[in-house]
């Protein structure tokens, strides 16, 4: 059904949108774009910038903040993602079954062979991104989503493929457990949950450095990859 252009609804909507845009402009034009606000003594960012390389050993400041200083928050974030995935599973199982439409045209040989050749490379790239989370842009969430996008490609090309939900759930919970377990190691040794107890290990800038941060990011990568794959497979519908 084509959506009609509805003047009664659009004019107030446009006015409200312009009002909000004007408010944002008015509020943020005073902030000062591109000014060095972090150099003030005692600001949180300044504390992170000047100390985090020594304290965590991570070359990437964003990773140091996300996984070390706010690691507990990240654990909550991963939990939110897990809840979304579980909630989707619950909703899908309660839905009425979709109408069985006519079978789509099967993919050609070129596409299937190409997918089979490219998929391992995509998964390798995803692993590269989450293994190098403490050295370069990227990390567990991004790498996990790259892996899931590769499996989404596989799901599109081979529609008959049943996602192995049991294995996905197993790897997801094992990864989540190891995240929490690393946190408890910190609690046991350093007295703080998720304390980076071996931060001195390795030289900054090398692959083996930054203590527990790469381990946590690997766990997050596996967990996010498994969750996203399950989420996409459920979205496909049918037999979830």
């Amino acid at each position: 059904m084509m959506e009609r252009y509805d003047i009664h609804r659009s004019i107030p909507a446009i006015l409200l949108a312009l009002l909000v845009a004007a408010t944002i402009f008015y509020a943020f034009v005073e902030v000062g774009f591109g000014e060095a606000k972090v150099d003030e003594e005692g600001s949180v960012s300044n504390r992170f910038i000047s100390n985090s390389t020594q304290e965590t050993g991570s070359s990437n400041f964003v990773t140091a903040v996300v996984v070390n200083y706010r690691g507990f928050d990240t654990l909550g974030e991963v939990t939110v993602l897990f809840l979304a995935s579980a909630g989707m599973g619950a909703i899908v199982s309660a839905l009425p079954a979709g109408d069985k439409r006519k079978r789509p045209i099967p993919p050609s040989l070129i596409l299937t062979a190409g997918t089979r050749l490219v998929l391992p490379l995509i998964i390798l790239f995803g692993s590269y991104v989450f293994v190098h989370g403490h050295l370069s842009p990227g990390g567990g969430f991004q790498g996990g989503v790259i892996i899931a996008s590769g499996l989404l490609l596989y799901l599109v090309i081979f529609p008959e493929w049943k996602a192995p939900h049991k294995a996905l759930a197993l790897s997801e919970s094992l990864a989540g457990l190891s995240f929490a377990g690393i946190g408890i190691i910190g609690l046991a040794v350093g007295g703080i949950f998720l304390d980076n107890v071996i931060s001195g290990l390795g030289e900054a800038g090398m692959l083996v450095s930054a203590g527990l941060i790469p381990l946590i990011y690997i766990a997050i990568g596996i967990k996010v990859g498994a969750e996203m794959t399950g989420l996409v497979a459920r979205m496909k519908g049918g037999d979830a």
């Binding site: 045209i105 050609s108 070129i110 596409l111 190409g114 050749l117 490219v118 490379l121």
Partner: protein, 118 residues
């Protein structure tokens, strides 16, 4: 002082941009989906590859990554254009009226008949 490396890299990037422009022009000028895809795929693959190599030449530490991008583009870009062309044909987009021959339509019909029977 601009080094010779930068000049070569910039030359590669300029050639790539030229090819990209020609591909976009072909997308506008050529008559039907299949002819347009021909121009778009070839020019845009070549243009992107040329730009990647140019970046790799300017900063040599990026060259291996640029080559990996080149390999990936050469592997996946033809695949996507093939998928678009096939989907267009299967959903009934006609060939340009000046086309001389179409051997695919009859073969596809035969295949569908066979699939429907089995």
């Amino acid at each position: 002082m601009i080094g010779i490396q930068t000049i070569i890299g910039m030359a590669f990037i300029s050639i790539g941009l030229l090819f990209q422009f020609l591909g976009a022009l072909g997308l506008v000028r050529l008559p039907d989906v299949y002819n347009r895809l021909q121009a778009a795929t070839k020019s845009i693959t070549m243009g992107a590859i040329s730009i990647a190599i140019g970046v790799g030449v300017i900063d040599l530490s990026l060259l291996p990554k640029a080559l990996l991008v080149v390999i990936f583009l050469m592997l996946t870009n033809p695949l996507s254009s093939h998928a678009i062309a096939r989907a267009a044909y299967n959903s009934g987009v006609p060939l340009w009226k000046g086309s001389v021959v179409d051997r695919y339509g009859p073969a596809l019909k035969k295949l569908q008949k066979r699939r429907g029977r089995s």
